[in-house]
Every structure is written in structure tokens, then in C-alpha cells.
Amino acid sequence: MIFLTKIRRTISMAIRNLWLHKLRSFLSVLGIIIGTAAVISLMAFGEGSMQDALEDIKKQGLTNVIVTSVKPPEEATSQRRSFVANYGLTDDDHRRFVETLKNLVTATLPMRVFPAELRPVTDSRLYNGRVVGTTPRHAIVYKLENMIAAGRFLTEQDEEPIPRNVCVIGSELAAELFPGEDPINKTIRISGKDRAFVVVGVLKDRMPNTSGAEIEKYNGDMYIPLKACRSLLGEISFIRATGARGAEKVQLSQVVLTVDDSGDTDAVRDRVRGVADIVRAQLSATHPKKDWDIRIPLDRLEEAERTRDRYRILLAFIAGISLLVGGIGIMNIMLATVTERTREIGIRRALGAKRSDITLQFLLEAVVQTTLGGVIGVLVGLSMVFLVPYVASQFNYRVPAAIHNWSIILAFSVAVAVGVLFGWYPARRAACLDPIEALRHE
């Protein structure tokens, strides 16, 4: 009780003393303010972009192995010649995956993707989107269960026994082709083809995937049954728009393999790698050209996590330095204060203050300063975290930011700790002054 009263008294005294020297106190904690604000905002921006990256990766499914068709390099250089570039994953590859991996994989999703001009049958609006031929499993592999804005996703009945000409469309495509209307049961035509697809579902807004070589803007996608796609296109994937006379023949653009996720994380990790190894071996054996590629989101996740850890260490280092500088500022001013108030210390000692009382007084004065500095720094940091993305968005930049509660707590408690650490020596020095000498001090 007595101790608490003492603390309360001492704190209010400390605040009064600081108020007496407003400018000086402010300048001495400026280092702490800047340090704390920098930690808060750098942490928020760093974590924000890291989270974005991690989300991206997680969206691809951490238990997925993504096999894609890639145009082999020699084909790319001989663009001028008029021939059909034949490359990539085949239905045979897909069949083999299903057979050899049936104990390791819970789903395989073959897909066929090509860019297309899409327009409603009724008017002349036009949208450059993608057609994705896929199966109902797409919804499971891409976790779309909560992403349906209207209608439904593709079902088995859309494929068997005869493929139906239905489609599910992304939010942007829906908004562009049918502004202000309900897209369900409207019909979309693919430029250059004579078939129309009836919209049975619309998806919600989805974040683009930026992890691959090119950005996938899912919101412009049109999903149709894979079989319908095949009967629509045959095996010619698309006529190349720029290269004038070339065409490409790709049976499957992508096969996603979802690995069995039972067991602990290490087991799942090993299984994902095992599946990737098998796929790699199989494709190397059957494809003379390297016209395929394997992406393992899990690998990218681990890499991203390592990057994040490195960033955190760097940040901790910066934080350490700036708070060290702040702490030295505090120590400097506290030493000056002790000298300046030597006589006061003598008086207090003569009137019965113990060494510990004097220590407490000056220590608390330092801690009150750094704590206030910490509070101001947190506020400045937080307002940067809100302001910078706002200003950036005015210039069409996206600055992702994520505030962690613990970053605030951390920055704040480090500020307090700096007060204790750097206030200790000056406070001890004050306490160890000889009372008589101190009383004689001018």
C-alpha cells in the first residue's frame, strides 16, 4: 500500500517535472517516438505484403501439386513458321497420374485454359477474358464453396451423359457483360465459335493470383465443363492472335493434384514432395521436350516464410538500433537532469529519502518519458499505417498493411524497457550522491 502510494506520487511528480521542461522532454524522447513509430509501421507494411503473398500461396492449396503445360523454348523462337505448336500435358498424362497416384491423391483436376473474347448474345458488349474448361472438382480444389454469389457451380450433370453448354462466370465478367442485370440464364458467346453458353452461376470477387509467371485474374474467368470445351475446340487450343498464322495444340493446360491431407503436417509435406517427384519422373520419361512445369505452393510457402523471418530479423535489428539511439538520448538528458538537480537530491536525502527512493524517482522519470514516447510513437505509427495506404490508393497503388496487436505491445514494452535500461544508470548515480556534498552543490 505504502509502496503504491509512493509510486503514484512519484509518477505524478515525474510528469510535473517533465511538463516543466516540455520542449526538452519532447526532444529527449523524439528518438523513442521515431523508433516506435518506425517499428509499428514497418512491421505493419511488411506483414501486410507478406500476408498477401502467403494468402496467394494458400489459395493455390498447400496440399496441391500444380502441373502446367509450358511452351518449350525452341518452339518459341521459331514463331514465324506456320505450323501448329503441339506441346504440353495430354489426357494420357492425366490418366497415368490418376492410376499411379491413386493412393496419395484425393483429387485430380485437369483443366484447359485459353483466352477468349466473350460477348452476350443479345448485344455488342465485349470482354477479353479466359475460358476455363474444368470439372465440378474445381470448386473443391479452389475452395469455392463460399464464393458463389448467385446460382451454382458446375455439377456432374453438366458433364454426363452429354456435356451441357453451361457456364459459371467471375464477378468482373458478369458486371461487364450484364451491367445492372441478373446474369443467371443469360447467354454468352465465345468469339469465333458458334456455340453459346448459358450462365448458371456467378462467383464472388476473388483476389487475383500473382504467384505464377503471369497474373491470373479469376474475376474475368468463364468456367465451362471440360468435355464441352473439348467438343468446342477439338484439340486446337487457340489461334494465336499476335503471331498471325500460328496455332497451338494443347490437350490440357493444367492438372492440379490434391494430395491426401491426413496425418500430421510433416507427413503431408513429405507426401506432397513424393507426389511431385513421381510426377516429375513420369513426365521426364514420357515427354522428350521439357514442355511442362511443376509448381508446389508448399515450397513457395516455406520460401515466403523464410523471407518473412528474414524481414522480421532485419526489422528487429532496425528497431533495436533506433531504440538504442533513443535510449542514449534519454540517458544523456537524465544525466544532465541529475547534475542539474543535485541539490534537490541532497534535500530529499536530508529529509529522509533512501537511496532506493531517489533511484525510483529518477527511474520513473525516465520510464514515464519513454512510455509517453512509446504511446506517441504507437499513435504516429498507427496513423501512418492508415494514412500511407490511403494516400497510395489515391495514386492507384495498393499498399497492404496488417497491424498485429503484438507489434503494438512489443513496441510499447520495448519503449518502457528502454526507459528502465537507460534510466537505471543515471538514477543510481543520483542515489549514490553523498547527501552533504549534494546539499552544498550550487
Partner: protein
């Protein structure tokens, strides 16, 4: 009369770069409860040194010091602080008030370190301020007060913990003679109310207020005489008890 403080063969040596300064060379004195002692002597004779030892601000090189019935000459720093806090009141030549505090807050400081500050002690501080004639200036700061007024605050502060003994080192050293007399009247009143006062002074007419004059020379007691004190001429303060 009960002996309230007693020093036996007290010495104090200062060590300065190999040289020894013998500030006190064996002082034996005892002080009775309710006494009013003037310590006199030439500059450098060891008056302040003795007073600081009596005030437990320092420890003697050798010899014993009993305050009440405790031997304080061997106490630790913390214990000495405790003793100062509870049993000793200080009055200094240069007032030594805490500049950023108001009158009441200054008076309160010793209680702060006893860990008892509350509404009732605040009232006590206000009463003391009124007693020394500063009832109107409770919230003034030292810089807004005259020297005499500051010394009154210091006196009130020296009384707040109801000490065994009040130690004053040239309490009127910075004051003009009229103000000095006022301060001495105040001290005299306190003494009549039972307070033990030990006061260092250079001036004979200040020493004349005391009941006993101890003269020092070269760190030793030269003479120790009882005198008839001046007394207060019809003071209005006589009835005040802190």
C-alpha cells in the same frame, strides 16, 4: 531532564588526496530534551561537521552517537535515512526548498518518505503553514516568496514529522536582522513548546536567544555554558503547538 542525544569522543576525518583533515578531534556532548543550544566558533572549527553528524547525514570516523537510546554511529545508509525521516528536522542557511513544489508540498516532503501522505497529513501541513504565518500562500512556489518566508516554510517542514531534535545550520545567515529576529522568535516559541533545537551561528545576538552556548575550536569543544535566554517579548505565537 532526559538526554535526547549524546556524542562520545566523536571524531571526523576527511581524506583529501593523501592529506587528512581532522574536522572533529574528539567531541563529547549531551543534549537534553527541550534544550536550545547555540553552536559557535570560528570558521572551519567543525560546527557544520558536527551538526551533519548529529543529523545522521554522515557517519563519524570514530566515537559513538546515541540518539534517544539508539546507537546511530554504526547504522547503515538506509537506517540513517529512516532516522532522519522520523526523528530529525533540518533547517538550512539557504532554506533548501524544492523549487518545483508549492509551500504545502514542500512541508509534506518528510511525510512522503515516511510513506504517509493522505488528507489528514495534508491538513496538518496546512496548519503548520498557518502557524508559521503562510496560511495565505499555501500554493505559492519558493521563487515567489521572500527569504524570511522561505525559511518559515523550512521551519514548518522541519516540524512536520514531529522530530526529536531540530538542527539548524546558520538559519538566519541569509536574512536581515529584522527578519532574523522574527525567525528566532519562531524558533524560541517552538523551544518553549518543548522542541529541542541545536543551532549553528556566528552571531552573538542570535546565540543570545539560546539557553546554552557551546563554543568550538579546531574540532574540539572549547566552552559549554548555560545562559539566560532572551525569551519572547509578548509573542502572539506562544500558544501554538505543532
Amino acid at each position: 531532564m532526559r538526554v535526547i542525544a549524546r556524542v562520545e569522543n566523536l571524531t571526523k576525518h576527511y581524506f583529501l588526496e593523501g592529506e587528512v583533515v581532522k574536522a572533529l578531534r574528539g567531541v563529547t556532548l549531551s543534549f537534553e530534551e527541550g534544550d536550545f543550544v547555540a553552536l559557535m566558533g570560528p570558521s572551519g572549527s567543525g560546527k557544520s561537521t558536527l551538526l551533519n553528524l548529529l543529523g545522521c547525514l554522515d557517519r563519524p570516523t570514530s566515537g559513538r552517537y546515541f540518539l534517544g537510546n539508539q546507537d546511530v554511529s554504526t547504522m547503515s545508509d538506509d537506517q540513517l535515512s529512516e532516522i532522519r525521516c522520523r526523528y530529525i528536522g533540518f533547517i538550512f542557511q539557504s532554506y533548501n526548498l524544492i523549487q518545483q513544489y508549492t509551500v504545502v508540498e514542500n512541508i509534506e516532503v518528510p511525510l512522503l518518505y515516511q510513506g504517509r501522505v493522505d488528507a489528514s497529513t495534508r491538513r496538518r501541513c496546512i496548519r503548520l503553514a498557518e502557524m508559521v504565518g503562510l496560511g495565505e500562500r499555501l500554493n505559492h512556489r519558493p521563487t515567489q516568496l521572500s527569504g524570511g518566508q522561505q525559511q518559515r516554510v523550512a521551519i514548518a517542514r522541519a516540524l512536520v514529522n514531529d522530530p526529536h531534535v531540530i538542527l539548524a545550520d546558520e538559519p538566519t545567515g541569509n536574512l536581515d536582522s529584522k527578519t532574523s529576529d522574527e525567525i528566532m522568535e519562531l524558533l524560541c516559541t517552538l523551544n518553549e513548546a518543548g522542541k529541542t533545537i541545536i543551532m549553528v551561528t556566528h552571531e552573538n545576538d542570535i546565540a543570545a536567544w539560546a539557553k546554552r552556548v557551546v563554543r568550538m575550536r579546531d574540532g574540539k569543544v572549547e566552552s559549554d555554558v548555560r545562559t539566560a535566554p532572551l525569551g519572547i517579548s509578548g509573542s502572539s505565537l506562544a500558544s501554538v503547538t505543532p
